[in-house]
């Protein structure tokens, strides 16, 4: 049996496979010593920037920060949504460093969103029945689909992705985080529902869906 302690540095650097990550996170959940070890390694890793000679930023920068704190949102809704999701992930990924259980998952989500943000793709807002934005879908020309939910599912629940083909709903898998990669090829509608762990053969609590390319 391998020593999971050896995987902690790679866990911190976001270098583990998802299987290894789950293994490490289960260990962290169960072991206070493991959590202490992780915290100690975190401190070391984030001491690295201390090696650099500090550099004063241009004086205008603080003024720009203040302006942005008071700025009203401008721009197209879609871009704001994209920006909002990206910012939320980045910050949460930042915060994730302190939450061992979510750290790697958040980092992986962040990397995935960052990658998809750089692709030429079509963005659609996923709304609930009240018309509130609950997530977004990114569709690429080759049929790729990234589902990004605003919030993680509540405890004891998972999100389940669905494709609709001539009225027939096909499960595309469940996910516990907020980001899920799938494909929209062959479907005329893509949707997300909230389900118990393990998912359901048919959606029991549909959250929202989007027709494919209008």
């Amino acid at each position: 049996m391998r020593d999971l302690r050896e995987l902690l540095p790679d866990y911190l650097l976001g270098q583990l496979s998802s299987e290894e990550t789950h293994e490490v996170e289960a260990w962290l959940e169960a072991s206070p010593e493991a959590r202490a070890e992780l915290k100690s390694l975190e401190s070391t890793l984030f001491a690295l920037p201390e090696e650099l000679a500090p550099v004063n930023p241009p004086p205008r920068t603080w003024g720009e920060v203040r302006k942005r704190l008071h700025a009203k949102p401008l721009g197209r809704p879609r871009l704001l949504w994209v920006g909002g999701i990206a910012a939320a992930f980045l910050v949460l990924a930042g915060w994730g460093i302190f939450s061992f259980a979510g750290y790697r998952a958040l980092q992986a989500e962040q990397a995935r969103v960052a990658y998809w943000l750089a692709l030429p793709a079509d963005w659609r807002l996923l709304k609930n029945a009240k018309g509130e934005g609950i997530g977004s879908m990114i569709w690429t020309e080759d049929g790729g689909c990234l589902i990004v939910m605003r919030d993680p599912p509540p405890a004891g629940k998972v999100y389940q992705a669905w494709g609709t083909q001539k009225g027939r709903k096909v499960s595309l898998g469940t996910f516990r985080g907020r980001v899920y990669e799938t494909s929209f090829l062959g479907f005329d509608r893509m949707g997300v529902s909230l389900e118990p762990l393990g998912g359901n053969p048919q959606p029991t609590e549909p959250l929202g869906s989007i027709p494919i390319r209008g």
């Binding site: 270098q15 070391t44 930023p57 241009p58 960052a114």
Partner: protein, 178 residues
């Protein structure tokens, strides 16, 4: 941080005063471009202000919180680029515009200690750890860049971090490093 979480801009300004020179240095190192580093610096402090309520002091220090947000924002920029910047040892840090800044270094000893800790690593270990931390290279990317077996890269990065910790914790502090 607590006051920042309550929306106190003066508290954020204090955080900015304390951390911006170090965060800016980190961003310059990661991004290699002043304009982009400045943008991400702004992003960092705007996000800190908006998300400060998530900060939990019992879990980690303020510095780690700030650096983590800055690093993740910068890594996101790097990932959307085709290439990472190269380390520029000759960068002129004495831009006349920057001379007007209000910061002065108060923790030179801390910086020297980390520099010495890094000097205790082999050049290869140091390079691999820094490229992983600053530029977000994955192990396979590092293996390709350095023409090393993947297993060797993993071992060296891991060992580098552990050696660094050992040095910084004072367990074995060699004079002057390697």
């Amino acid at each position: 941080m607590i006051w920042t979480a309550k929306g106190d801009e003066t508290a954020l300004e204090e955080l900015y005063r304390r951390f911006s020179p170090r965060v800016y240095a980190l961003l310059l190192r990661m991004l290699g471009a002043r304009e982009e580093a400045e943008e991400v610096l702004q992003d960092t402090f705007v996000q800190i202000f908006r998300e400060a309520k998530r900060y939990q002091p019992e879990r980690a220090g303020v510095a780690a919180f700030v650096f983590t947000i800055a690093r993740n924002l910068a890594l996101s920029r790097l990932r959307s680029r085709a290439a990472r910047p190269q380390k520029d040892e000759n960068r002129d840090l004495h831009d006349p515009e920057q001379e007007l800044g209000f910061w002065q270094e108060t923790d030179r000893e801390g910086r020297v200690l980390v520099q010495r800790a890094l000097a205790s690593l082999s050049p290869e270990e140091r390079q691999l750890l820094e490229e992983s931390f600053y530029w977000g290279y994955s192990h396979p990317e590092l293996a390709e860049r350095h023409h090393l077996p993947l297993g060797t890269v993993k071992t060296k990065v891991r060992r580098a971090l552990l050696k660094l910790r050992e040095f910084l914790s004072g367990a074995q502090v060699p004079e002057g490093g390697e």
